[in-house]
Subunit: 540 residues, 2 copies
């Protein structure tokens, strides 16, 4: 067989040749929507490669982005790696210290920054040690007033560039193409390097009829940010398949997303549960036509069943839960149905949708406890480990590699079970698991149950030390407005749980809080909660 390398440049060529008139619909600001064809995209992308090369981009140069989802970011997704350089998508939601850390650690030499983020960004520029050029992504040919040197307008650079830049066809497919950093709960973010091969194979997986089935006829809107695990790889796949894509830009809100779905006839969209919870509420107040949607893909954290039900039952939109992480490109599993499952009752189908789902073709998983691999019985918990060609093999120049990558597998830090029918179910993060009398209790299961109670707004369950059982669960609950945080409520919640769990799973106590502390991406910050409640006296 030919040793043709799997390269991102082939995607640009394919989109330009076969789908030149298909659109990238790009919102770059309030009331500003660009409609770029793939023909224009391909030309602009080659111009970007030429322009950045003139600024000094070489094979292996790290080019950072600091921006929302729009066509210029997409051009950087392709124009940087296709030329043999590496695109580092900086998470704009990190703290200024962490932003500076990741840019310095990756050694980014050129930074592409959204015009509306530049005022924020330039404040941390003095912390940056390796950046030589700043390119402002915006419509203007002028650059904003700034004390920084070497600041360029993206569009002005493109005006001066050639669109016949030739991409190397003999690049090794294992050449680094992209980088993302994952926010560690303690310490600095950890870098993951994506290769051309990994991204291409991940795109094939995204296009499989049995996975997301991304196809040319789709109108795909990634709500998940392009600075967050390559927007789950979706913009890459869309170019590969010639799919129309809607890049929703900055200042997202539920009404805007609903309007885009209705106006652009979006067929598939993807984002985290928080987004879809907000979208459901707004849709209930003012219904848009969502009939174009064939699927919503939801990941990042567990989806409450009420949310799944709202889409599947009330709105008639398939709501597919996925699992992945920065280290896994990210697609690991999707709660798609196996044949026959469509005939189950709505409740049973929602139960399946709420699982993390079927492992996509090409990856292998094991659930490991201290005795080795556990059986797929839906009960035995262990740490999820993953292996495959789009799974990272290390953290970039980071000693923490040894903690997560062992004997050829990624140890995800997630506690999971596999059901007998081969679906992944996440139970907890390793460090959030409650170890009571030698048995494991899933904080996530308890939280989901509590959050299904009509009086509860949010709930987090953490371990507190216990003399006899080593650890016992403690429920931290935020009540809905107007509810009274008293002993009667406490007992009501505990007896609600008693109906659903083994006795020893039921939390030892309930504390009522005004809010649960959260990370920058909206996940419960249990470390802070454990700190806060360290001295809590069990009181039931």
């Amino acid at each position: 067989m030919m040793q043709t390398p799997l390269l991102l440049s082939s995607f640009i060529k394919r989109a330009e040749l076969f789908f030149p008139d298909k659109l990238i619909i790009s919102r770059t600001g309030e009331d500003t929507i660009h409609r770029i064809t793939y023909r224009e995209f391909a030309k602009r992308t080659r111009k970007l490669s030429d322009a950045l090369t003139k600024l000094g981009m070489k094979h292996g140069t790290k080019v950072g982005t600091f921006g929302w989802n729009h066509h210029r970011h997409l051009e950087a997704y392709f124009g940087v790696p296709s030329a043999g350089a590496v695109l580092h998508m900086v998470n704009i939601r990190l703290s200024p210290e962490h932003i500076a850390y990741v840019i310095n650690h990756a050694e980014d030499e050129i930074m592409l920054v959204d015009d509306n983020l530049f005022p924020h960004f330039q404040k941390l520029a003095p912390l940056l040690k390796t950046v030589k050029h700043y390119v402002i992504m915006g419509d203007s040919r002028d650059v904003p007033e700034t004390t920084l040197e070497n600041v360029h307008s993206y569009e002005a650079l493109l005006d001066a560039a050639s669109d016949d830049f030739a991409y190397p066809e003999d690049l090794d497919e294992n050449t680094p193409a992209g980088m993302c950093y994952t926010s560690a709960t303690t310490g600095n973010p950890k870098g993951v390097v994506y290769t051309h091969r990994g991204i291409v194979l991940h795109c094939y997986a995204l296009g499989l009829a049995d996975a997301m089935g991304i196809r040319e006829a789709d109108v795909m809107m990634p709500v998940v940010p392009m600075f967050h695990v390559n927007a789950w790889g979706l913009p890459f796949a869309a170019v590969f398949f010639g799919t129309t894509q809607v890049l929703p830009g900055p200042g997202l809100n539920p009404a805007l997303l609903l309007d885009l779905i209705e106006q652009e006839k979006v067929t598939i969209t993807a984002g985290v549960p928080t987004i879809w919870l907000a979208v459901v509420k707004v849709q209930e107040q003012q219904a848009r036509d969502l009939s174009s949607l064939r699927a919503i893909v939801c990941g990042g954290s567990a989806s409450p069943k009420g949310l799944i039900r709202a889409f599947e039952e009330k709105l008639g939109v398939p709501f597919i839960v996925g699992y992945g992480m920065t280290e896994t490109s990210p697609l690991v599993s999707l709660s798609v149905y196996k044949s026959g499952m469509e005939e189950l009752s709505m409740d049973e189908r929602i139960d399946i949708r709420a699982l993390q789902g079927l492992i996509v073709p090409g990856l292998e998983v094991r659930i490991m406890n201290e005795n080795g691999e556990v059986p797929w019985d839906g009960k035995t918990m262990g740490e999820l480990t993953v292996r495959g060609p789009w799974i990272a093999s290390e953290y970039y120049k980071d000693e923490r590699t040894a903690e997560a990558f062992k004997d050829g597998w990624l140890y995800t830090g997630d506690i999971a079970v596999m059901t007998e029918f081969g679906y992944l179910k996440l139970m907890d993060r390793t460090k959030d698991l409650i170890k009571s009398g030698g048995e494991w209790i899933s904080s996530v299961d308890l939280e989901n149950a509590l959050m299904s109670h009509e009086d509860v707004f949010e709930a987090a369950v953490i371990a507190v030390p216990h003399e006899k059982w080593q650890e016992r669960p403690l429920a931290c609950v935020v009540l809905n407005e107007g509810r009274t945080a008293d002993d009667a409520m406490k007992h009501q919640l505990l007896s609600y749980l008693e109906g659903q769990f083994a006795k020893w799973w039921v939390p030892e106590d309930v504390v009522f809080l005004d809010e649960i502390p959260k990370t920058s991406v909206g996940k419960f910050l249990k470390r802070a909660l454990r700190e806060q409640l360290k001295g809590h006296e069990l009181n039931v």
Copy 2:
């Protein structure tokens, strides 16, 4: 990223873990249908690997098969390459001399032969130089009476084998996995070697929603033989995705295929036009329920529009034309619709279906004439060249490699145009093209037009030498029963063509024949026709 190799053994593991109860429905003879689960398949495949290893199979050993489509052949598809050996699927329709040639040339050491083909096969066994063992694929634990030595029963070998054979996980993905020989029009067949990497990537392409979309919920029946380009890769893909597969065995006929479609609720099937022409006729006489079918894939030679219309319009079954060859694994293109095409008229849609279609993601094509790459204008003809990770890079130990593989591309020997909307249209084989006065005339276009005439059963158009124009087209026509082969008919056919083609395309003359000579796979043998009509005097 992890350097996890793309290996066929991962497919077995996946099917066994995720789809253990899905079925392989295997017809091994009249009234004999086996129903094997993927759980059993995985065990039997490991047993086969163990049994063949005991017979001397090592890394790189060539193991030949001589059989129809059934579960034992499928076990060999996986059990041989997963162990690091190479499966050579011998085309049982070759002449005895060519069968001996390919087995000797590949240096097959073990031959797996269908019980019902063994009487035929053992006659040519004396010609074989490298085969040490014969394994009879059939239900019996006994071996037939034979003068050959080292003849084993497949089932008896499996009985004695262990099902915990461990496949190497560190095999290089570029390790040869399979071999097929393509029948050359002159000389000996030419061998093509498939690698694990090539087959795995080809399977991803088969599973794409925009290609065949093979998925778990499908019931897939490959009518194309497993000795013909890996049955187009479909059995591999089916195991990868956990798809139910129906392997229809020996003695195929249209009624049997229709019965299998109806009884097993086949959703997708694939084969050559000859098969589907026969199937349509039988379906017209006695209609089966074909409502389970979501697609018929047709390749191997051009599909007459009447055939496409019969399925699309009368039977309501999407009829997708594909293009490929032994050298291309084989999937190159499929006449699937781009978005918007569904809204065209039935006639327009059938015109699109009749094209060879859209190039599948992952491959590149060029159409080359003496001046280089030709424009995609639907008119300018040239030779189709293909490049990609599942395209062969050579013929196995064969000097003819230099004719077909040049500057990193496969020169297919097919004359084609690309339409403006990026669909491949085959015009001719290089050697069948008619070069008239410096211009090219497509024999295939003329043949298709002639065969759409109500009086014509078959038609082949060949070049005859011409003093002024170098070559001119000559139509060779077999009329339908009851039609008269006279001058009136001749003029009727020529004026029928005059309405459709430029004047200089219209054949110089028509000869009426009783039949068109054909190759072993049913393609027109134009070389024989040219020989036969060498001295023909043009007579219009």
